[in-house]
């Protein structure tokens, strides 16, 4: 029983990251109706930004070899700053890969290719500047906090996992309050539901789309930093796997549904954690098995609604 609880804790904390990731996809998907395939690369940028802002030095293979950020910022400062950096990257992706196509009223399929291209460029840029090596975040980030908290009965949670959960929880709470209560949140929903009508109300849909990109990329950036804290940065392709899994979560939860993204993230995280250690190499297969199952049983996803319109 305690073992199960431990697995649940592990699953929920990794699932929270997936959820943050999928929320980013969802935000952009809801306003544009397309998936931003550069999202994984932006997540990777967030991880590298976090590493650099914490004072980490660049390894010997990149163009920036040996350099480092002059300050070693505390984690709780570095993380939001990395998020802001990632948001800037997201805006760049929007300006390069999305806006020109939007102006032209291009086919949705083309966004797929341009965003994938922007993602590849970002990843290669990281490799060029920072090298292909793995980076480990400094180990003493937590200061006086213990690395592991015991919850009794042999169940424990890593402080990093707890932090990840708290940050993800707060981010989701703020996001949902913002979407449903603030005027900009309502405007974003208006653009998502009917872009033409939104324009007739005087809403600048271009600015709202940029806002969606900025928020989505900010979320990706901080989740990148948090995951890097938990498992270290494996290299410039660090975000690709998470990006693919985020897509699975997106479809599982229902395209364009924010609560669906959170639920889907938690389900896949927990399902992965329940995969026995012996079979852990097949963990990724679990996410996609869920995806296939969902597409067969309920193509609109868990919380997605089938298209319905009142005549």
């Amino acid at each position: 029983m305690d073992g199960l609880l431990q697995l649940l804790i592990n699953g929920i904390s990794i699932g929270a990251t997936y959820a943050l990731f999928a929320l980013g996809y969802t935000l952009v998907f809801s306003v544009l109706g397309v998936i931003n395939f550069a999202h994984g690369a932006v997540f990777t940028c967030g991880a590298y930004f976090t590493y650099l802002l914490l004072g980490g030095a660049v390894g010997s293979n990149g163009m920036l070899a040996g350099m480092h950020f002059p300050l070693a910022l505390p984690l709780l400062v570095a993380l939001p700053l990395a998020g802001i950096g990632a948001a800037a990257m997201g805006l760049l992706v929007e300006a390069v890969a999305f806006k020109p196509l939007r102006r032209r009223g291009a086919e949705p399929l083309l966004y797929l290719i341009t965003s994938l291209g922007a993602g590849v460029i970002l990843v290669n840029l990281i490799q060029l500047l920072m090298g292909a090596e793995a980076y480990a975040l400094p180990g003493n980030l937590l200061g006086r906090w213990p690395a592991v908290l015991a919850l009794g009965h042999g169940v424990q949670i890593r402080t990093v996992q707890l932090l990840l959960l708290i940050v993800a929880g707060i981010a989701m709470l703020i996001l949902s309050l913002w979407l449903n209560r603030s005027s900009y949140g309502k405007a974003l929903q208006a653009v998502a539901e009917d872009g033409t009508t939104a324009r007739l109300l005087g809403i600048n849909s271009g600015a709202i789309i940029q806002l969606a990109f900025a928020i989505a990329s900010f979320l990706a950036g901080i989740s990148g930093g948090l995951v890097a804290l938990s498992v270290n940065i494996g290299g410039p392709y660090f975000g690709i796997g998470y990006g693919l899994k985020g897509l699975g979560v997106l479809v599982l939860g229902g395209l364009g549904s924010a609560p669906g993204a959170v639920l889907g993230g938690l389900i896949i995280g927990i399902a992965e954690a329940l995969v026995p250690a012996k079979l852990s190499a097949y963990k990724d297969a679990v996410a996609f098995a869920f995806l296939f199952l969902m597409l067969i049983l309920r193509p609109q996803g868990l919380l997605g609604k089938p298209p319905m319109e009142k005549v």
């Binding site: 005027s183 208006a190 539901e193 939104a198 324009r199 007739l200 005087g202 849909s205």
Partner: protein, 240 residues
């Protein structure tokens, strides 16, 4: 008319690809007027409105707003000028509440007090909306959605209201009620361009009218003249 018209279309042409929806349309609206733009399905009425609010580019000719050319304006900016377009098919934001729809109608305005006054005015005009203000707009009936669409357009505090087929799909009794509301709005000083297939209802409240056929202007005049016109009576009012 001696004063500068509020809105003037000069030789306006609108097209979709190679197909012309509107050709060489001249039309003007003075401040305070209610002008009807009439014609059957596909005559180019909606395309004209969409060109005015810059959802469609004008392929030729000019759209002048108080003598200023609108060709470089984006849709969002026309709202700022005071043009509020209540689109065909209502297009309420079904997933948001009645109140949120109305608040979004006032998106460009910042004066909270003035917005509140207009909100109360809308609720007074359409009491049904006040009763349902916290319901999702998608759960309203067709007539209520039309009221919401009009009220939302009013929340922008427009100088010119573009109405696209407000009577479409409504029961005759509701059409009467709606037209009375529109007449009251016009009497209170709101300038309107009313697109309608329901010629009889539109000419009851408009002072002047234009009739389009296959994208071209075939008739214009005061409402009284148009009501008497035998061609129009034959085509639209069912007279022999």
């Amino acid at each position: 008319m001696t004063a500068t018209p509020l809105l003037e279309l000069k030789q306006l042409g609108v097209r979709y690809g190679n197909i012309w929806a509107v050709r060489q349309l001249n039309l003007s609206i003075a401040s305070g007027e209610c002008v009807a733009l009439l014609g059957s399905n596909g005559a180019g009425k909606s395309s004209t409105l969409r060109a005015i609010s810059r959802l469609l580019p004008a392929a030729e000719g000019q759209i002048l707003w108080a003598n200023k050319c609108l060709s470089s304006f984006r849709t969002e900016s026309t709202v700022r000028l005071g043009i509020s377009h209540c689109p065909e098919g209502r297009r309420v934001l079904a997933k948001q509440t009645v109140l949120a729809n109305l608040e979004l109608g006032a998106w460009l305005r910042r004066n909270k007090k003035a917005i509140k006054i207009d909100l109360d005015y809308c609720y007074q005009l359409f009491p049904r909306l006040a009763e349902r203000r916290l319901q999702l707009a998608g759960s309203l009936s067709g007539g209520e959605q039309q009221m919401l669409a009009i009220a939302r357009a009013l929340m922008a505090k427009p100088n010119l209201l573009l109405l696209d087929e407000p009577s479409l799909g409504l029961a005759p009794l509701l059409v009467d009620e709606l037209m009375q509301c529109l007449a009251k709005l016009n009497k209170d000083g709101l300038t309107m361009l009313l697109v309608e297939q329901n010629v009889y209802a539109a000419l009851a409240i408009a002072q002047r009218g234009y009739v389009l056929e296959a994208g071209e202007l075939v008739l214009e005049g005061t409402a009284q003249e148009l009501r008497k016109n035998s061609n129009l009576r034959r085509s639209y009012l069912g007279d022999e």
